[in-house]
Symmetry: C2
Subunit: 237 residues, 2 copies
């Protein structure tokens, strides 16, 4: 570490994290191996043990290291990386693509919750929720078909909102902060109901995103989004 | 804060984060609002300013707060939450479902990289990579169809591996740690090539995951995974 005088002050933990990352990637330290303890690394790098701790914590958060209180720190065998998916405002997403946004509310009603959703949401079959279906368009082409249930107990004031004017996605993103979201991806053939709304043929493969958000009261909303054919949803770790 | 003596030592930042989270969820502090500065919060909670900083940093990492050096801290309008997707070892995934794992290598060759991948990978069309196609089975039913390109320059030693015996997914997860991954989801109709390999009909909708991993040398591998009909991939924030 003859170069350590060149490390910018305050960047020491970042520098150590980079060096440890390099040793893992270049397999000087191999997956599953226990790495030297904090005291040894502090001596090697000529820094405080707290600085080493900070660096290793960064790498643990990235998923490169497994830290166990008694077993020490090992190079992770199968790192879990976090992929970022935001809940976008669909209008902004469409406008960012240079298209003109429009929205059509197909139906909005207070309806009894079907059994298929009840258990997953921790609610009872037949509980009255707000059910709505809508299509989001870019330059008048269907972009996304939305089938949504909203739990008014978790979102006071929502029963007075008319989603003909402001779409539910944008209202909820702006007004109903969530603590936790479940999302899952699947594919389905468009079917007789979805195909005309997305202006496609019934056997067309569609990407489906099911998403449920929760706050401290309970589920806020569960939504099934069907995207236009060819849509790709990207994430980066 | 008359109850602050009851806060466990060391848990003060967590306690403050919980209280700030509650204020946001219950809309005492609304999306877009600037929250009190660290000094004010330190006084309110009767803790050091560093403890408040730690609590706010936790909430910023969750996406609930936007922190700007000069503009102060605001409640995020559209929080970005991190959804966790690991790169699983498919064999373990199938065995965890109680099924017996098997694997069939359809082809393995050194092949010139097609243009469709070259630009995205930062490589040249015609560069020689390892191309392989394989199917993963659970109880002899197709689970996943894999079409993979591996860059031997980023993975020394890989040219000597025979993927008939150990599948490429497991070899790479265990031997090629990555720094960064891109993933994206889409749907497609099975088509004449994929349908028989997945034991389904050609028009069947399939969930497709494209994933590329990178280390400090360059791209490690890019893979297109087609899942059996009905497969759902879940994530939780």
């Amino acid at each position: 570490m003859t170069e350590r005088d060149a490390i910018p002050a305050g960047g020491k933990a970042t520098y150590i994290a980079e060096e440890v990352r390099r040793r893992i990637i270049e397999k000087e330290w191999r997956q599953g191996d226990r790495i030297p303890d904090e005291t040894e690394l502090a001596t090697e790098f000529g820094v405080a043990r707290a600085t080493v701790n900070k660096a290793l914590q960064l790498l643990a958060e990235e998923g490169l290291l497994d830290r166990r209180r008694r077993a020490g720190t090992r190079v992770a065998i199968n790192p879990v990386r976090k992929a970022t998916f935001s809940i976008p405002i669909v209008r902004e997403q469409i406008e960012a693509a240079g298209l003109s946004y429009s929205h059509r509310l197909i139906s909005q009603s207070r309806s009894p919750l079907p059994a298929q959703h009840a258990e997953r949401l921790g609610l009872s079959t037949g509980d009255i929720l707000i059910h709505l279906r809508a299509v989001h368009y870019g330059d008048r082409q269907p972009f996304q078909l939305e089938d949504r249930w909203i739990n008014p107990r978790a979102v006071p004031g929502i029963e007075d909102v008319d989603f003909h004017h402001l779409n539910a996605n944008e209202w909820l993103v702006r007004n109903a902060p969530y603590l936790r979201a479940d999302l899952n991806f699947s594919a389905c053939n468009a079917g007789e109901h979805d195909a005309p709304l997305l202006d496609t043929k019934p056997e067309q493969a569609l990407l489906i995103l099911n998403r449920t958000t929760w706050n401290d009261v309970g589920p806020i909303t569960t939504v099934r989004l069907a995207f236009h054919p060819g849509y790709t949803m990207a994430a980066t770790t």
